[in-house]
């Protein structure tokens, strides 16, 4: 396809051209892949997705990948989605088939912009956010690569949470750290038969889109941004909080 098309009809609500910041999606699983899809549809092209996993057959139920993507890296599946959606892979859209570690962050990876933290373990969350938080307190080029916002989600089968972190705020960071549980705590984390966290596609979709809305809210009206939103679907209930933890 060579003809240029414009798929956007939402510029009056959110025009991505006005916010020329890179968007990083760390983890392309149930929530991450859907966040990626939502951002592509929003018209954001400066997208960077990180994941070291491959698509398996059971991922098709709750992630955006298709049959053709099985046994392929998940990030390749994301790029294939963008190509299928837009006809091309926009310039600036990058896929990294790797795990984001503290060493990678120290070498300047995941620089600036908005970070969607959608990994599958608490330990990786703790490690990545600590590395990003360190940049907010440093000087020089490292400070310039500090993230503007970190959006992190937690998901169970019928409920989930979205955390919106301003890492320049030490108090908020401290509160967020207190919400992290141990990966081995089976009371807190629902596990699927294969041992990973249980997820339902519709729940993942709702949480992913709410997370993207948090990003849009941050750009359009940061004052109204809530640092924590809890969603319950059985029964339906939405709780927003002005602080992550009391």
């Amino acid at each position: 396809m060579t003809e240029s098309i414009n798929i956007m009809r939402h510029e009056s609500i959110f025009n991505p051209k006005e916010y020329p910041y890179p968007i990083h999606i760390i983890g392309a699983g149930a929530t991450g892949s859907r966040v990626f899809a939502a951002l592509v549809e929003l018209g954001i092209t400066d997208l960077h997705v990180y994941d070291d996993d491959v698509v398996e057959d059971h991922n098709l139920a709750n992630q955006i990948y298709g049959v053709d993507d099985i046994n392929e890296p998940k990030v390749n599946g994301c790029i294939a989605f963008a190509r299928h959606k837009l006809g091309i892979v926009p310039e600036g859209m990058e896929a990294y088939n790797r795990r984001v570690t503290d060493g990678y962050l120290r070498n300047g990876g995941v620089a600036g912009g908005i970070v969607f933290l959608l990994t599958d373990t608490m330990a990786s969350r703790r490690e990545i956010v600590a590395g990003l938080h360190r940049r907010c307190h440093s000087l020089g080029s490292a400070a310039a690569s500090a993230p503007l916002l970190v959006i992190e989600t937690r998901m169970a089968s019928t409920h989930g949470s979205i955390f919106t972190l301003n890492l320049f705020d030490d108090e908020l960071y401290k509160q967020w750290r207190s919400t992290l549980v141990d990966d081995d705590d089976e009371d807190s984390i629902e596990l699927s038969p294969c041992g990973t966290a249980l997820s339902v596609g519709t729940t993942a979709s709702l949480i992913a889109n709410y997370a993207v809305w948090q990003m849009m809210q941050f750009f359009v009206d940061p004052v109204g941004l809530q640092p924590r939103v809890d969603l319950f679907f059985k029964p339906t209930l939405t709780m927003t909080m002005s602080a992550i933890a009391a």
């Binding site: 910041y21 400070a143 500090a146 503007l148 301003n166 908020l172």
Partner: protein
């Protein structure tokens, strides 16, 4: 040189005769081209130089020659004009056997009339080109084009390759946005940097406290050693400690009965301790109240810093042409330096009248003060920073102090060093420079030069720019020449309104004479306020003291901050209060 006829051969006679009969080989003013006879012989250096002279160069030479002739003793008689002509560097020049003089700069003597002829020739060529352009355009489109405005001191009429007039600049918009962002938050939110831990924030203060505390422990240990030492060892201890402690400490160490709390070391330690403690408490309080705001600010600031930088292209020629039309401008020149990555804009100003800008003037009779014509230079860098250098001929006008009666850079009370002190104009100028708005920048500069603030430490000297204080230039012609030379420094075809400049210089001379005749000097009103507190009246009828600089100090400040033996009581003062002596 006389020629002896007996040495001339028949061939020489024939050659001379042919030359006499041939058309005069002067430089042709015929705009259709050089005559055939001229092509049969190599051109003379003068003709060669004239043939390569562009219209802009002609205009510059005519301007300079006119000025020189006016200033010379042989007014209106001597029309010879010496110019330096740069011969092109060609490979043969570097050959040792080449007949071409390697000294490629040579001086030629051209008459003013020759240069004028060359100028007319170029103008005619241009007119011819324009006429053919109009003819062609009319034939094809049916429209007509007006003839370009050409004048000696005009702004257009280029015959050489187009001059590079575009200047690309990176807008420093981040700085403007960051400042605007900072203004949204209360000032207290930035008293401390909450992004750093407290031990870093108060590191210096803590080190200071530790140092004082160490001194105090050392002092008390020494006192203890003296008190417990055997009487026979005591005099050796005294000798030892005289080299280790100050005389002030020795008073305490050697006294029979002494309280450590009365020593300065103790006092300094306690004061530093309380200061550190109070600062920490204030830090905690501010962090609780403003920590969230500062975090928000830092987040927004990071957003601004991560935005892509914007570039703009400035048509400096257009800027110069616009500025040249202003009333107070007698000349404009610019130069784009690739080496400095900056544009230099030189603006000649005239009829600038300084007005008092302070609501409460320090002068008993504040009045406007006319400044002699001068010029300034603006240097705008490619990263959106602008400076107004004054030295090295970048600013020139009637000097007040550096070179009385002649030109120097001290032309304004707020211009005493290599950069004018812009005061309240500073931020506006910074913003305009960041945006690359050169026209507004120059406009603000004119506003700046049109005022003085007598309440300012530098502006209070504005009275010395009044004609009753300042020396008039000794020679208006040489002053004009200095102005024109400065404006011609870049040799980039400046726009010069010579009549306006001459009229302004003449008007200033009359103004100066008139003011001197009236002889009303502006004087500073004596308010006699305490030099220390700037509040208490210390008039002749009030009680006051004089410090070493003969400033009047009120009795309260004298008791609190001064002592009779030193100039001013400061932290480093070595004097002891009288009760401790």
């Amino acid at each position: 040189m006389a020629i002896r006829t007996d040495q001339i051969s028949i061939d020489d006679v024939i050659r001379i005769r042919e030359r006499m009969l041939a058309p005069t080989p002067v430089f042709s003013t015929d705009w259709h081209g050089t005559s055939f006879s001229d092509l049969t012989r190599p051109p003379t250096p003068e003709e060669d130089a004239l043939s390569r002279m562009t219209l802009g160069e002609c205009q510059r030479h005519i301007g300079n020659a006119t000025t020189q002739i006016r200033n010379s003793a042989f007014q209106y008689h001597d029309d010879s004009y010496h110019i330096l002509v740069a011969q092109p560097l060609i490979p043969e020049t570097f050959n040792p056997d080449s007949p071409i003089d390697p000294d490629y700069i040579q001086t030629l003597t051209l008459t003013l009339q020759q240069i004028k002829n060359r100028r007319d020739q170029l103008l005619n060529e241009q007119e011819y080109d324009m006429a053919s352009y109009i003819t062609n355009t009319s034939a094809s489109t049916g429209t007509t084009t007006s003839r370009p405005q050409v004048s000696i001191f005009g702004t257009t009429a280029q015959s050489r390759p187009a001059r590079h007039t575009m200047f690309q600049m990176k807008q420093n918009s981040h700085e403007i946005e960051l400042r605007a962002l900072r203004e949204k938050y209360p000032r207290e939110a930035f008293n401390y940097d909450f992004a750093h831990p407290m031990r870093h924030v108060f590191g210096d203060l803590r080190d200071q406290f530790r140092s004082h505390y160490k001194s105090l422990r050392r002092l008390t240990a020494a006192r203890s050693a003296i008190l417990t030492a055997a009487p026979k060892d005591r005099k050796y201890l005294k000798f030892l400690m005289e080299n280790m402690f100050s005389s002030r400490d020795l008073v305490y160490l050697l006294a029979q009965v002494a309280d450590v709390q009365s020593t300065r070391t103790y006092r300094d330690t306690v004061e530093t301790f309380y200061e550190l403690r109070n600062e920490k408490m204030r830090y905690m309080d501010h962090k609780r109240r403003y920590g969230r705001l500062q975090a928000e600010h830092n987040q927004q600031a990071a957003m601004i810093r991560q935005k892509p930088e914007r570039y703009i292209s400035i048509d400096v020629k257009q800027v110069a042409d616009t500025i040249a039309t202003w009333d107070h401008v007698w000349g404009v020149e610019f130069y784009i330096s690739n080496a400095d990555k900056a544009v230099y804009l030189r603006v000649g100003l005239c009829n600038i009248r300084m007005e008092e800008s302070s609501p409460e003037s320090a002068y008993s009779n504040p009045e406007s003060i006319l400044l002699a014509p001068f010029y300034i230079t603006v240097k705008l860098s490619a990263i959106g920073k602008a400076t107004c250098p004054t030295r090295d001929g970048n600013t020139l006008g009637l000097s007040r102090n550096n070179n009385p009666g002649h030109c120097a850079y001290d032309i304004h009370p707020h211009q005493l060093s290599d950069q004018p002190c812009f005061g309240s104009f500073g931020q506006t100028l910074v913003d305009q420079a960041n945006n690359g708005d050169l026209i507004s920048y120059v406009g603000t500069l004119i506003a700046f030069y049109s005022q003085y603030n007598s309440q300012d430490s530098a502006g209070v000297a504005a009275q010395y720019y009044h004609p009753s204080h300042i020396h008039l230039f000794e020679n208006s012609e040489s002053y004009t020449t200095s102005m024109l030379s400065g404006m011609n420094m870049y040799r980039q075809e400046p726009v010069i309104h010579l009549e306006k400049l001459e009229a302004a210089i003449s008007a200033y001379g009359e103004y100066h004479a008139q003011c001197c005749a009236v002889c009303e000097r502006i004087e500073i009103a004596q308010n006699h306020i305490c030099y220390s507190c700037d509040e208490m009246s210390v008039g002749d009828d009030d009680e006051y003291y004089n410090d070493n600089n003969m400033n009047r100090i009120c009795s309260g400040c004298w008791m609190d901050h001064y002592c009779s033996d030193c100039e001013r009581h400061i932290d480093a003062c070595r004097c002891e209060p009288e009760d401790e002596e």
